[in-house]
């Protein structure tokens, strides 16, 4: 009797644990459901064609335009600037840490880089607006107080640890025999790193880049603070722009009643954001998996 009771208890616990693991699937379903529902409501009032082709985004004005392109341009601009900082710096640092640095330096530097990743983004926003922008204005006088340049740069600095730490993991797990083979043929450390180790770890390194891009696209507080809130279809890094994320913040700060078109726009904007980052995350996941299958 006692035995049976115990068996039932074991089964019940297993079921309960399964439910909590499966709960994560419900979260995804919840996100997708909420976004699809409100976006569908949005497209009842605004045509998909206008949404994708209009070159203005003015949902809060009397004459309303809903061209998501405008917000995408802002997001694209800050993301490109961020990646042009974090990509080279992160990759060089990863190669250095994996191939050149002594064990002592690695152990000392890695926790320090983790601190960089722990700083809340609102702090980086303050830094971009009140330190980096005034600094850049000394070199570029025509730089506006809100701009995509300084928010992009600071965002790039924030993303460096993501890229350097994930790329380093990938580089580090390339088998030693490849290094030894290359060295035996007379290559320098630099040649080995660039021509043998980097290509061998490419899918892992690419996964870290894509994750970095996805992070830059979804970053909110830095751009909401330092890039301005003026939707503008431009590639000029010196003027204020508005990203998808900053728009959602702008609307959320105002008191927008449920059911209004303004309320629905943040879900349509969120949907666009989710689709793009979801695609990138999936690519990154499968690249990383392919890399693991080769070497682990």
């Amino acid at each position: 009797m006692h035995r049976n009771l115990q068996k039932i208890k074991e089964k019940a616990i297993e079921k309960a644990l399964f439910l909590s693991a499966f709960f994560s699937v419900f979260i995804t379903l919840g996100i997708v459901g909420v976004l699809i529902f409100e976006t569908f409501e949005f497209f009842k009032e605004v045509s998909v064609f206008d949404f994708l082709t209009d070159t203005q985004w003015t949902p809060l004005f009397a004459e309303k335009h809903f061209g998501i392109m405008t917000l995408f341009a802002g997001t694209l601009l800050t993301t490109v600037i961020a990646m042009s900082v974090s990509l080279p710096v992160g990759l060089i640092s990863a190669i250095y840490l994996s191939e050149y640095a002594s064990k002592k330096i690695r152990i000392a530097i890695k926790p320090a880089l983790e601190i960089l990743a722990a700083v809340p983004t609102v702090v980086y926003g303050y830094f971009a607006l009140l330190f980096v922008t005034p600094l850049l204005q000394k070199v570029i006088p025509e730089l506006s107080g809100f701009n995509s340049l300084s928010s992009g740069i600071v965002m790039g600095i924030m993303i460096i640890p993501i890229i350097s730490s994930l790329s380093e993991d990938a580089l580090h797990s390339v088998p030693m025999s490849l290094r030894e083979g290359s060295m035996a043929l007379g290559s320098t450390k630099f040649q080995t790193s660039i021509k043998v180790i980097l290509p061998a770890a490419l899918s892992g390194v690419a996964a870290s880049f894509i994750l970095g891009i996805s992070r830059a696209i979804g970053e909110t507080m830095i751009v909401a603070i330092a890039a301005g809130q003026q939707p503008r279809l431009t590639l000029n890094p010196l003027v204020p722009v508005e990203t998808i994320t900053a728009y959602i913040v702008q609307v959320s700060l105002g008191d927008t009643p449920t059911g209004t078109l303004e309320y629905k726009t943040i879900f349509a904007a969120g949907m666009s954001l989710f689709v793009v980052t979801f695609g990138l995350n999936m690519i990154s996941y499968f690249l990383k998996k392919r890399f693991r299958e080769v070497y682990e």
Binding site: E14, L17, F18, S20, A21, F22, F23, S24, V25, I27, T28, G30, I31, V34, L35, P88, V89, I92, S93, I95, Y100, A101, I109, L113, E114, I115, L116, A118, V119, P120, T121, V122, V123, Y126, F127, L130, F131, I157, I160, P161, S164, F190, Q191, G218, T220, M221, A224, I225, T245, I248, V249, S252, L253, T258, I266, L273, F274, T277, N281, Y285
Partner: protein, 298 residues
């Protein structure tokens, strides 16, 4: 220049370029800390910690913000910790390697990379509107709990994976059931690492502003949530869970967005408070990890 010499030059200069690239982020971090300390240090003090926000920058403080942060962070742990540890235990100890596990794994990995503002949209629709929680502490905590859940699951799985199979076998050999093994052997042994991961996840939640702005957390709060402990019967009250709130990152965002320079000083001082909390938690996590890595020799 001959090729050999050039190759050697490239090799040597990469030591310097590489070291600089690695230190670059840290140099920026140092600059940031110095800049913020210069801007905000004069405002930081007892009065700043015990005052509500105000129209006058000199009189403003972070009382409602830090109390809100403590409330929300505590409730986030209460919701996310049991759920995350259970999920990780299932995936590591029970689930078979099949499509369902793969599906859940892809799903968790994707959730950990979803932009945090998207969680805000989910919280807005589900908790604030759907469950009628309004802009309360509990709505904010639930939103952040869902945000950090994947992080807790991932770190807990790693902690459980690090426990050697011999511990399990020894426990089974003594006649323990699967659950007894997990509860009495595996989870206690993995707990320090699990706690490290949880502390890091909560420190991430403390720094988040965008999901809470999206669910409509207030930027100007001149009162505190109802205290959980009171002198009258029944002494403990959960009414505070349903009160409106603000948190430190939102208060900082509010101040930095204002045109008056006086509020920027408040923002810098607020950042110092926030960073002290976040760094302190990261310090505890690093210490725990360091200490148990040393002690645990299987």
């Amino acid at each position: 220049m001959d090729t050999k010499l050039r190759n050697r030059l490239y090799d040597k200069s990469f030591y310097i370029v590489g070291l600089f690239a690695t230190l670059f982020g840290l140099i920026v971090l140092l600059t940031l800390l110095i800049d913020i300390t210069i801007d905000g240090f004069s405002r930081l003090g007892w009065q700043f910690l015990t005052s509500y926000p105000s129209r006058k920058p000199e009189a403003a403080g972070v009382l409602s913000a830090w109390v809100g942060t403590v409330w929300v962070a505590a409730m986030t742990v209460v919701v996310a910790f049991p759920l995350g540890v259970s999920a990780a235990t299932y995936l590591e100890e029970y689930s078979k390697k099949n499509w369902l596990r793969e599906f859940i794994e892809i799903n968790i990995s994707n959730l950990s990379a979803v932009p945090s503002i998207i969680y805000g949209l989910l919280g807005l629709q589900l908790f604030v509107r759907g469950l009628n929680m309004d802009r309360s502490v509990i709505a904010g905590a639930m939103t952040l709990a869902i945000l950090v859940l994947p992080l807790i699951i991932i770190s807990t799985r790693e902690a459980i994976r690090a426990i050697p199979t011999t511990i399990r076998e020894a426990s089974y050999a003594l006649g323990a059931t699967k659950w007894q093994t997990i509860r009495n052997q595996i989870l206690p042994a993995a707990m320090p690492t699990i706690l490290t991961g949880t502390i890091l996840a909560i420190s991430r939640a403390i720094g988040e502003a965008s999901p809470l702005i999206t669910i409509g957390a207030l930027t100007y709060v001149a009162f505190l949530p109802t205290s959980p402990i009171s002198l009258e019967f029944p002494y403990i009250s959960l009414k505070g869970l349903f009160d409106p709130f603000s948190v430190l990152p939102i208060q900082i965002f509010n101040w930095v967005s204002r045109p008056q320079k006086g509020f920027w000083i408040d923002a810098a001082a607020g950042i110092m408070v926030l960073l002290i909390i976040v760094f302190f938690m990261n310090g505890i996590a690093t210490y725990l990890r360091y200490r148990y890595e040393k002690r645990m020799r299987w």
